[in-house]
């Protein structure tokens, strides 16, 4: 692939990367560049488990265009500039867009389901950026003469090192949601490995079945994020709205066994978020 001669040519060949960066900067200007306002972040689509389950599923994607401060914005924009254009030129804009959307959702779903960060504000494009890193690893694995050939080369090894360093940083810094990073990384790897990148050799029946199962896993986890039937707040919202006496009694019994409802000041929290009318 010929390297772009100048910046404008790069923008021409990788437009979506620069659209994403523009979106990052625009949303940062709207919500506060240095220290964003929490309420503004929520208004502009920050992730929040209760709101997502309460009928605002777009937050699974919109959160990835918002950031929690200047440093957060700076790091994510830098990484996107570093890896986005090359990846977009390699995959094409349509597949790059698919990668961004799916990995942003994958990262958010993992953060919500794994850590139970249901009421925290979820913002940042790092789930999608880790998804891009995962996709790059998958492409290296797919293109080798065998699955482990990529480890014999310095470039792919540096990529793995970069991922590991960032994951370690995520473990050290409390505000970073490492679960979103890991979710994005795995989603990006699986998406690229199974769907975006053709391997050297034809897929057999079992491989095709695995592809279908991975897609089903992604969809079912996303569906569960929208309808988390085991969570006390989902049950409580249903309990408040339902009229069927028998089902109400069943939900009431279950709620009384859940600490989030009985001890966590639960219903008041839902009222604050405007989910109980």
């Amino acid at each position: 692939m010929r390297r772009p001669a100048n910046f404008m040519e790069q923008v021409d060949r990788a437009p979506l990367t620069y659209v994403c960066i523009l979106a990052y900067l625009t949303m940062a200007a709207l919500t506060g560049l240095i220290t964003p306002d929490g309420e503004k972040l929520l208004n502009y689509g920050a992730g929040n488990g209760a709101l997502i389950q309460g009928g605002e599923p777009w937050r699974l994607l919109s959160h990835s265009f918002l950031h929690g401060g200047f440093l957060h914005l700076g790091f994510n924009t830098y990484f996107l500039l570093l890896i986005g254009p090359g990846l977009e030129m390699r995959l094409g804009s349509l597949r790059f867009a698919l990668l961004y959307v799916v990995t942003a959702i994958g990262g958010a779903v993992t953060a919500l389901l794994w850590n139970g960060e249901w009421y925290s504000l979820l913002v940042g494009g790092s789930g999608a950026i880790f998804g891009m890193l995962g996709a790059m690893v998958a492409m290296n694995v797919r293109q080798g003469r065998h699955k482990l050939e990529f480890l014999e080369q310095a470039g792919p090894r540096s990529l793995i090192t970069l991922i590991v360093i960032n994951l370690v940083l995520g473990l050290i810094i409390e505000q970073i949601s490492n679960s979103a990073h890991i979710g994005g990384l795995i989603t990006g790897f699986v998406l690229a490995y199974c769907f975006l990148e053709r391997g050297r050799y034809a897929a057999d029946g079992l491989t095709r079945l695995l592809q279908v199962l991975w897609a089903l896993l992604f969809l079912s986890c996303t569906a569960y994020t929208l309808r988390p039937v085991l969570r006390w707040d989902y049950r409580y919202l249903e309990y408040v709205e339902i009229e069927d006496g028998e089902r109400r009694a069943e939900l009431s019994n279950l709620l009384l066994q859940q600490p989030g409802y009985t001890f966590g000041g639960g219903p008041e929290r839902l009222e604050e978020l405007g989910l109980i009318r």
Binding site: L213, L217, A223, Y224, L230
Partner: protein, 264 residues
């Protein structure tokens, strides 16, 4: 057929269960929230039990059973080798076989499948390679290994015996050594001992062979000789003698056997 339920198939089953689980919970919740909660609770208990059980067994194995870590290293090595198999030559061979059948290409496809752990796919190609060229010792050797991997002991012994007769030094005596191990498994003790001895004369001894010979000698009631071989197998490696993962495992097993007074 033994060995056909591969790691990939097991992974597909687990992935399928994980993919269906959230949808099943949502569907069950529609019918009865209490049932959905009950099912989730039971599943969590089962998973916790399996997790603690597996973790406990692994910890106990590491502490109480010396061969456990070498065994893990052998499994890792096997998995790494399977993932490092270059498939290009086999793909080209398959392409040629579509137009022109020949034993070398069947052998290439069969060997590659065997190296990747796909024993069932390997077998027809190796059988055909032997049919097309009955004098090919290498084809018989790989066919013997494929038959051993699916538990067909007697047919494997027949192929390995023929391969050894055709070329005793094939692959530095690999066919002969494999034959000796197969005979030991089939409890054809005298022939196994003779084959091990012949291999040791020509290619030197190794820890796996020493352990197998000790097992045979014990079966034949020659306990003292068995113990000598076990001590040799359990001895620390000499300077400049790197042990393969398989040999490390054999050494650990020999140590355990000596603790048990020679019982293997």
């Amino acid at each position: 057929m033994p060995g056909t339920f591969s790691l990939r198939t097991g992974f597909a089953v687990l992935l399928g269960l994980a993919a269906v689980w959230p949808l099943a919970l949502i569907a069950l919740h529609e019918a009865s929230p209490a049932q959905a909660a009950g099912l989730a609770g039971q599943a969590a208990q089962v998973l916790r039990g399996v997790g603690w059980g597996a973790g406990g067994m692994a910890a106990a194995g590491m502490v109480l059973y010396p061969p456990f870590l070498p065994w893990l290293r052998v499994q890792y090595e096997t998995l790494r080798r399977r993932m490092s198999v270059e498939q290009g030559p086999a793909v080209q061979a398959r392409g040629r076989l579509a137009h022109f059948e020949n034993p070398d290409d069947h052998l290439t496809v069969g060997r590659t499948a065997l190296a990747m752990g796909q024993n069932a796919q390997a077998l027809p190609h190796l059988v055909r390679a032997v049919e097309l060229d009955p004098s090919h010792a290498g084809a018989r050797y790989f066919l013997g290994r494929a038959l051993l991997s699916i538990g067909q002991l007697e047919p494997a012994i027949e192929q390995l015996r023929t391969a050894t007769a055709q070329d005793e030094d094939h692959a530095f005596g690999a066919a002969q050594l494999e034959l000796a191990f197969a005979l030991e498994r089939a409890q054809q003790d005298e022939e196994a001992l003779a084959t091990f001895a012949r291999h040791a004369d020509r290619h030197g001894d190794n820890r796996r062979a020493l352990l197998a010979r000790a097992r045979i000698l014990r079966r034949l009631g020659r306990g003292d000789e068995a113990k000598t071989l076990l001590q040799e197998a359990a001895a620390p490696p000499r300077a400049g003698e790197p042990l393969s993962k398989q040999e490390q495992l054999a050494r650990a097993r020999a140590k355990v056997a000596l603790w048990r007074g020679g019982a293997t």
